[in-house]
Symmetry: C2
């Protein structure tokens, strides 16, 4: 339905603008007035679209998880080989973090404590699903490689998420290191850490 | 001088309490009144000790870097072997992050944008010194191992910092994974990623 697509499009535009405002002023520091102004809506208009500030934060995080789904995970569905699938997931996630650079991601990473109750639970369910996807993929890769696993899939998953989610702190795509090289370097690094160099 | 030691002790106590308040309410969400109350000082008394809210944030970050220096880096000075030195630095840093769990670290990681001008520069100099320490240590380890480096020391350093600084997001020392095991697992994982399994 075109109306619902329009509504979704508008919500995403609000999310992008609001994420930028939250990024600049922090969630507590930004008012709904600041956000309305950034989006070009009245405050009443903004409330009409998002319900509340809490809800808006949730929508931004949800939008970030949608982006991960749409631009990375959907494309992995047809890949059979677990190693290839994991490698492409790592590279896709890195590219996503760098492309949506700074706004949605920073808010998602830093404002989790600002969300409360059911909304926090809902977003944590989506995050957990992604963590479980990585864990099972890592488990499959370890099985395929054979031998005794060198690290637990869960601890390896969090190492991977740490490496990727830390990127926004230091990496600038306009700098000397090309994004494609960086993504490949980190995928290789992770596989060595996971399996050891001989099994790569 | 005992007076200056007392002053430092008081400042550190303020830092610890204030870090907790900033953690709970965020830097923008917490008032100096909230912090004064947590420390058991009047607002005027708090300003006397720390000068300004900005300065207080700086002092907390500086305290975090002091802890890294005092509890980890000072102990590394007499270690000659670069691999042993890097391994013990990784383990020490992980233990520090988990022990000062949640307060100072969270503030240091998340509120960097709240600091402005010269104070931001000053703390970034200290962070950069630590990054450079890790980079040269990693370079030495690579040289000692011989062969063509598999990853640039700088990119490897940020992978390591990502792994360690992500811990506060998921690791709970009271859970199933023992801290000593986790620290050793991550040190091994990092060395495999850096050098490949055969050179470990």
């Amino acid at each position: 339905m075109p109306q619902s697509t329009d509504k979704k499009k508008k919500l995403r535009e609000i999310c992008r603008q609001a994420a930028r405002v939250f990024y600049e002023k922090s969630y507590d520091g930004a008012s709904m007035q600041d956000i309305a102004q950034a989006v070009g809506l009245t405050k009443a208009g903004l409330y009409h679209h998002v319900g509340s500030k809490d809800r808006l934060l949730y929508e931004i995080m949800n939008y970030g998880m949608d982006l991960l789904d749409e631009t990375v995970l959907q494309k992995m569905k047809d890949i059979q080989d677990p190693r290839e699938k994991l490698r492409r997931t790592i590279i896709g996630h890195i590219q996503l973090i760098v492309h949506t650079w700074d706004y949605e991601t920073t808010v998602i990473l830093h404002e989790n404590r600002s969300l409360t109750g059911p909304l926090r639970k809902k977003i944590n369910v989506r995050k957990k699903e992604y963590i479980q996807y990585l864990e099972s993929l890592i488990t499959e890769v370890q099985k395929q490689a054979g031998g005794k696993p060198l690290i637990s899939p869960s601890v390896a998953t969090f190492a991977l998420l740490g490496i990727i989610n830390w990127l926004y702190q230091w990496y600038r795509p306009e700098g000397l290191i090309k994004l494609d090289d960086l993504a490949a370097t980190y995928a290789d690094f992770f596989f060595r850490g996971l399996l050891g160099v001989n099994q790569q």
